[in-house]
Symmetry: C2
Subunit: 180 residues, 2 copies
Amino acid sequence: MPVRPPADGRRARGERRRRALLAATLRVIEREGVAGVSHRSVAREADLPVSSSTYYYATLDDLLIATLTWSAREMALGFGAVKPTPGSVARFLAEAVGVNRGRTLAEYELYLLAARRPELRPAARRWITLLSSVFGTMEPAAFLGFVAALDGLLIQGLIADFPPTAEQMEPVVSLLMPSR
Amino acid sequence: MPVRPPADGRRARGERRRRALLAATLRVIEREGVAGVSHRSVAREADLPVSSSTYYYATLDDLLIATLTWSAREMALGFGAVKPTPGSVARFLAEAVGVNRGRTLAEYELYLLAARRPELRPAARRWITLLSSVFGTMEPAAFLGFVAALDGLLIQGLIADFPPTAEQMEPVVSLLMPSR
DNA sequence: AAACTAGTGGGACAGGTGTTCAACTAGTTG
DNA sequence: CAACTAGTTGAACACCTGTCCCACTAGTTT
């Protein structure tokens, strides 16, 4: 908490609106993809006038970048709580392509955007660097393969007709993960 | 070659235009992403009037779907010629995120679109089924991990600041690939 | 020759877009 | 109290969009 600014009520409400806009944007992305994001669609989703969207995020790019990096941070937090065992990891993956499908999709929209815009790359890679802090003890080549496989399992899970279950994922994960 | 229709010159030219439109669309996708595709941008790229784009592909969706499935088939053909050795596979991957970066990006735009539109999924999975015909002898779990890792290596290669080289990929690939 | 058909392309329609702006309200500070 | 500042909002700008339509050309068939 900041101490200097003596709690300006206007700014506090402003911050709340900022967050509401980000959340609304994320919902739009989950529902329609990045393509569906416009100042107007976001404002409609947040039930706010259009100009409030442009007030806080002058350009659409600002809004998109802010939303995707925020979403990435949230997702990384979620994975931070996963125990480094094949079962837990498999369960996390199954949830990512199941219950949290929309969020995971948003994450890969970020990947694609990051491929074209270098400034988004650190945010897109946050997930990878997080993994390296959890599984850093692995042998380098094995670790790289492991991380790549996690991404592949997720993205392939997104284009499967029936999202894979934790039970289906587990053998694959434990094969890639040095059991100890 | 069809035998029945006695070679209608008009139709032949039409087919050529169809292809030109697909190629132009792919160039637009490589340059600006799916977001940059419009009947007008494609027509401009192909140096054709807008109405020729809508004549051959009545809706934008038709055009996008045709382009992405066509591109996927081409990419699958490219991989079909790769020998199932770690070195060859690593070289293929390095080229995919290097020289053929644009094409690979298009492939993952297809993935993302397929996640939201079931009718695109078979096209998106062509690559995976092709792999299974080449590496079908592997043990199931190992194979799934291998395929997932290939996807992961590609997509991570796309958001790297410097695209990984075949030399960097090789150890990872050979670890995932039963040497024989 | 006429009849038919595939392709061609210019123009128009209604609607959505990003962004700017000026008038306004309501909190905060001196 | 007045001065200042942050936030709020509707309206307006110029532009791009998908799609349709109609008059037209040029190949093909009878």
